[in-house]
């Protein structure tokens, strides 16, 4: 970069008509490529965040559905449990989400049950978990 500037300056001062050398062009291109690649990294990072948000959103949904499901069964039958297999966004077998739930009795008041549903999934070697707590009254 400096050599280019110096040359341009010298050209102005001396009236020389010497242009860029091949090496100048190559350095310029490499710098340009680096700058563009940096910009690209930012955009890749942002789309990763978008994607992981979508997984969180699906997981939250599956947790809500499970709590609604537990509301519809006899109060005595609301106990700890887990899905038999991994499920997809629709709660059907064959996805990436594992779902389990724990029940704490007499929380937050006597006679009530506090249910926490955990939904976890693996992506790019990382395990993420979403949990949602709800209260079921008899």
């Amino acid at each position: 970069m400096m050599s280019m500037l110096k040359k341009a300056l010298r050209a102005l001062q001396s009236g020389s008509r010497r242009g860029f050398s091949l090496i100048d062009v190559m350095i310029g291109l490499v710098l340009l490529a680096l700058a563009l690649m940096f910009g690209l990294q930012v955009s890749i990072a942002s789309s990763r965040v978008t994607q992981s948000n979508m997984f969180v959103s699906s997981a939250a949904n599956l947790a809500e559905v499970k709590i609604e499901e537990l509301r519809n069964i006899d109060f005595d039958l609301v106990v700890d449990g887990a899905d038999g297999a991994q499920i997809n966004e629709l709660g059907e077998v064959g996805g990436i989400y594992s779902r389990s739930w724990t029940v704490t009795e007499d929380m937050p008041e006597d006679g009530m049950k506090q249910v926490t549903v955990f939904v976890s999934w693996q992506r790019m070697g990382q395990t993420s978990t979403f949990d949602l707590t709800g209260v079921i009254a008899p």
């Binding site: 020389s16 008509r17 010497r18 242009g19 860029f20 050398s21 091949l22 090496i23 062009v25 190559m26 291109l29 340009l32 490529a33 563009l36 690649m37 690209l40 955009s43 890749i44 942002s46 789309s47 978008t50 994607q51 948000n53 979508m54 959103s57 699906s58 949904n61 599956l62 809500e64 559905v65 609604e68 499901e69 509301r71 519809n72 069964i73 006899d74 039958l77 997809n88 966004e89 629709l90 709660g91």
Partner: protein, 203 residues
């Protein structure tokens, strides 16, 4: 590299030699094409993701809307009940605005337009005759929709009167490709929602 020697030697008045120009153009082309390819795939990815997120938002809005409406209808003065319970449609009767006048909502899937529609009717004579209040499209570009009904303890209900909960499974259409940079709702998304239904005929 004759041209290169020329320019460092300092005595030449020439800028680029033809060879230099061609080499630098070739390098520029290779770098340019590489960057363009990577950028294009990145733009495609983020556009698809953007649409997927919009789809997911739409699905959530739609499920929330139905949940709220069914809960509101069920908590009115009129004792609510389920009239039609099919995989592709649900008709529910209750009181939407708590004014003791019966309302009837009918959600149904129109496969030809891929829309989920909602009819709202009202009856001033407790269900003997119905007047149309309005008909809306509440979801577009739906690939599939399925209403799954449950009786107590999540059993399969024998008839409409046993229903205590409904699960709605929706998937967006992936085939419905629109132009890449419009607000077209492309990209597959699926969502399930579940709501408890108050049913006066249940015992």
């Amino acid at each position: 590299m004759i041209g290169f020697k020329h320019s460092v030697s300092g005595n030449s008045r020439a800028g680029f030699s033809l060879v230099e120009l061609m080499i630098s153009l070739a390098i520029a082309a290779v770098v340019g094409v590489t960057i363009a390819t990577v950028m294009q795939s990145q733009i495609m990815l983020s556009t698809t993701q953007n649409r997927n997120m919009l789809n997911q938002g739409d699905l959530r809005d739609c499920i929330n809307f139905m949940t709220e409406e069914i809960v509101t209808m069920g908590s009115g003065v009129v004792e609510p009940y389920v009239e039609i319970a099919e995989p592709g449609e649900l008709m529910y009767i209750g009181d939407l605005n708590n004014d003791e006048v019966w309302e009837r909502i009918h959600y149904y899937y129109d496969a030809s337009t891929q829309e989920l529609r909602r009819d709202l009717d009202q009856s001033i004579d407790d269900g003997a005759t119905w007047t149309v209040i309005g008909t809306d499209v509440i979801m577009e570009n739906l690939d599939t929709i399925q209403f799954v009904y449950f009786a107590d303890n999540n059993q399969v209900p024998l008839d409409e009167d046993e229903i205590t909960a409904v699960e709605i499974k929706m998937t967006m259409d992936v085939e419905n490709e629109q132009t890449a940079f419009t607000n077209g709702r492309v990209g597959g998304q699926a969502m399930v929602g579940r709501m408890t239904i108050r049913n006066r005929r249940m015992n």
